[in-house]
């Protein structure tokens, strides 16, 4: 963002109480304010005053969101009517614009609708229009699986020199049609509900030399390796991998700083394995791993290789129900996490798996902050006091740098006091401070899962200093 010049002295000298402060801002700043409105709201500001009448025609940020589109008139009740109106509105807005740059162009469709090839043609031509006006941020979301819309994007999207930020959901030209990808300025890419095969992924990283942020959500991953020199932030969220058991996903990303992984599941309740991964991320500093769903591990070896690849991190979050398996199977093969300073573990039942935490702590000699959240969450033993005596026999932790331990638990978990006592015994460092917070009751027996609003109401925060 380049600083824009404006005469602030002039603004400052006017009497503040009744001055129209917004209108006195320069056009470019008002445009940024308008960029947070939908296109319909932005266009409607034309009646505010003469100053605002033509402002929208040069607005470089347009957000057409069908779910927020209001239309009145005789067709308002029917979704087809709304779709037609929406198409007309977008076309009219683009026709009435001045020929100025268009930095942001968002289009999102929602709801079931009947599309014809005429509609597809319209939508394609909007995108072509936007691409010709120095487009930097492009978002295109479609809510429904639709064969027509699937082949909708013009191939120009993949060869546009000005694009910096692209988000695409559920819509794509057929993968075979993309012959070349050349996006020299692209920094951020978000893909949702898209099949990614190896050829496409390779082409993508060759064609985007400065790509820094990649977010894959609900994608079908058919690739076996990601090789990128430039990537800094990678998020793989609820993606399904279709690799065979003996294949491995390779992530070779030497400049990666942050890595988020959330395991995937499919809507048809088919169980998918976590793919075996080989992480080559030497500069990684932050990682967040969430393995929550009841999904299987590769049959022959229960080792996904995630934890081993994270040995350089400073800040690590492990959460989800299956974290206990991850720790149990992979920890013995791990090196020391010598850089790790800040560790968060969520949803690990300490009364059953205290030993896992203990052995993990012994892998982190330089730990400074430990955050244990929702210990006892969703474990098999329910509300009964049950402490696995075997699990408590662990080596003491000599973390000399440990400063704070933050424990949050549900009040129904009666094993917590005992676990806390063991925690106290295990951590030999007398300077460490343990903060205990109760989160209220956890509705285990009702089978409803955690009701957050109710818990917030009843939760009583109390902190105790044990040392």
């Amino acid at each position: 963002m380049a600083p824009r010049t404006c005469d602030m002295e002039r603004v400052g000298r006017r009497s503040r109480s009744d001055a129209d402060m917004i209108s006195s801002l320069p056009d470019c700043l008002i445009h940024v304010i308008m960029s947070f409105l939908t296109a319909q709201e932005a266009v409607r500001t034309c009646v505010l005053s003469k100053r605002w009448e033509k402002l929208w025609t040069t607005l470089p940020f347009l957000d057409f969101d069908m779910s927020k589109f209001e239309c009145d008139g005789k067709h308002s009740g029917r979704i087809e009517g709304k779709f037609e109106r929406f198409l007309d509105f977008v076309s009219m807005t683009l026709l009435h614009r001045e020929t100025s740059d268009m930095h942001k162009f968002h289009v999102s469709f929602s709801g079931k609708m009947h599309r014809s090839s005429k509609h597809t043609m319209f939508i394609r031509s909007w995108i072509v229009y936007a691409l010709k006006h120095n487009l930097q941020v492009f978002k295109f979301y479609s809510d429904v699986q639709d064969l027509l819309i699937n082949s909708l994007l013009p191939l120009g999207v993949f060869t546009c020199a000005s694009l910096v930020d692209v988000s695409i959901s559920r819509t794509f030209p057929p993968l075979g049609n993309i012959k070349v990808i050349n996006l020299p300025a692209l920094k951020r890419l978000y893909l949702r509900f898209i099949h990614l095969d190896q050829a496409f992924v390779e082409m993508l990283f060759c064609g985007c030399p400065v790509l820094e942020i990649l977010h894959l959500k609900d994608c079908c991953c058919l690739y076996s390796s990601i090789n990128s020199q430039s990537l800094k932030y990678l998020t793989v969220e609820t993606c399904i991998s279709f690799l065979n058991d003996n294949e491995m996903e390779l992530y070779n990303t030497p400049s990666l700083l942050s890595f988020c992984y959330t395991d995937g599941y499919s809507s048809d309740n088919v169980v998918y394995n976590i793919p075996k991964m080989l992480l080559k991320m030497p500069s990684l500093t932050c990682a967040s791993i969430n393995i929550d769903r009841h999904i299987g591990w590769s049959a022959d070896s229960k080792n996904s290789g995630i934890l081993i690849g994270l040995s350089t991190v400073q800040n690590l979050t492990l959460s989800g129900y299956m974290i206990k398996d991850l720790l149990a199977y992979e920890l013995p093969n791990c090196l020391e996490f010598s850089n790790l300073k800040d560790l968060s573990v969520e949803c690990l039942c300490l009364s059953c798996h205290f030993n896992l935490l203990g052995s993990f702590l012994n892998h982190c000699p330089n730990l400074e902050k430990l955050f244990l959240h929702r210990i006892g969450f969703r474990c098999e033993h329910g509300e009964e006091v049950h402490v696995n005596q075997e699990a408590l026999k662990i080596a003491p932790f000599k973390g000399g740098r440990l400063k704070t331990v933050d424990v949050q638990f549900y009040r129904c978990d009666k094993s917590v006091p005992l676990v806390l006592k063991y925690l106290q015994d295990t951590i030999e460092n007398s300077r460490a401070q343990i903060i205990v917070t109760s989160l209220g009751h956890y509705l285990y027996r009702r089978g409803k899962g955690f009701n957050s609003r109710w818990a917030r109401k009843t939760s009583k925060l109390y902190s105790t200093r044990l040392y």
């Binding site: 963002m1 380049a2 600083p3 824009r4 404006c6 602030m8 002295e9 603004v11 400052g12 503040r16 009744d18 001055a19 129209d20 402060m21 917004i22 209108s23 801002l25 700043l29 940024v32 304010i33 308008m34 960029s35 947070f36 409105l37 319909q40 709201e41 266009v43 409607r44 500001t45 034309c46 009646v47 505010l48 005053s49 003469k50 100053r51 605002w52 239309c71 009145d72 008139g73 109106r85 007309d88 509105f89 009219m92 932030y233 998020t235 700083l257 942050s258 890595f259 988020c260 959330t262 500093t285 932050c286 990682a287 967040s288 969430n290 800040n315 979050t317 959460s319 968060s344 959240h373």
Partner: protein
């Protein structure tokens, strides 16, 4: 340590790492690196003292949450806390928001700039022209005829979605 001086001569001492969140200040410091202590004073002439206070509070809060951590802990409590804090931070009157926009623009602090603009845009959302005029003091200088005839016929497609 860096000293910022506002237009009404108040001094603000800030750690260099904290003030670096302003890209303008970062460039100035980079330019003057290696010089004497006197050069670590930056005049912010176009901003009155109320705004630097707010900006520095914003800096300090964001300094505790570097970008990498923010990215890795998207689902994390810390990120939620920050969001709540920001909502409270931007919940002020429109004049302060305007000043914040101008300050964030000239100091080049992208996240503060976007946050303040978003808050102002809320005023324009889901309100009639009269309501917006009242809150933001935008003067409506259209004549009666213009309001009755010209605007509706010119912009019919905006309002009624009918295309004559």
């Amino acid at each position: 340590m860096i000293t910022l001086i506002s237009s009404d001569k108040r001094k603000f001492h800030v750690l260099e790492e904290v003030a670096n969140q302003s890209l303008t200040i970062r460039d100035v410091i980079e330019d003057r690196r290696g010089r004497r202590r006197a050069d670590r004073i930056i005049l912010v002439t176009n901003i009155n003292s109320k705004i630097p206070e707010k900006v520095i509070v914003y800096w300090l809060r964001h300094f505790l949450m570097p970008e990498e951590i923010a990215h890795a802990s998207m689902s994390h409590k810390k990120a939620e806390k920050l969001k709540k804090w920001e909502a409270k931070f931007f919940d002020t009157d429109i004049d302060t928001l305007n000043d914040l926009i101008l300050a964030a623009d000239s100091l080049d602090i992208p996240s503060l700039f976007d946050g303040a603009c978003e808050k102002v845009s809320d005023i324009l959302k889901n309100r009639s022209a009269e309501e917006v005029g009242e809150i933001s003091k935008i003067e409506n200088e259209f004549t009666h005829e213009e309001e009755e005839e010209e605007i509706p016929s010119e912009n019919a497609w905006v309002w009624r979605n009918e295309f004559a």
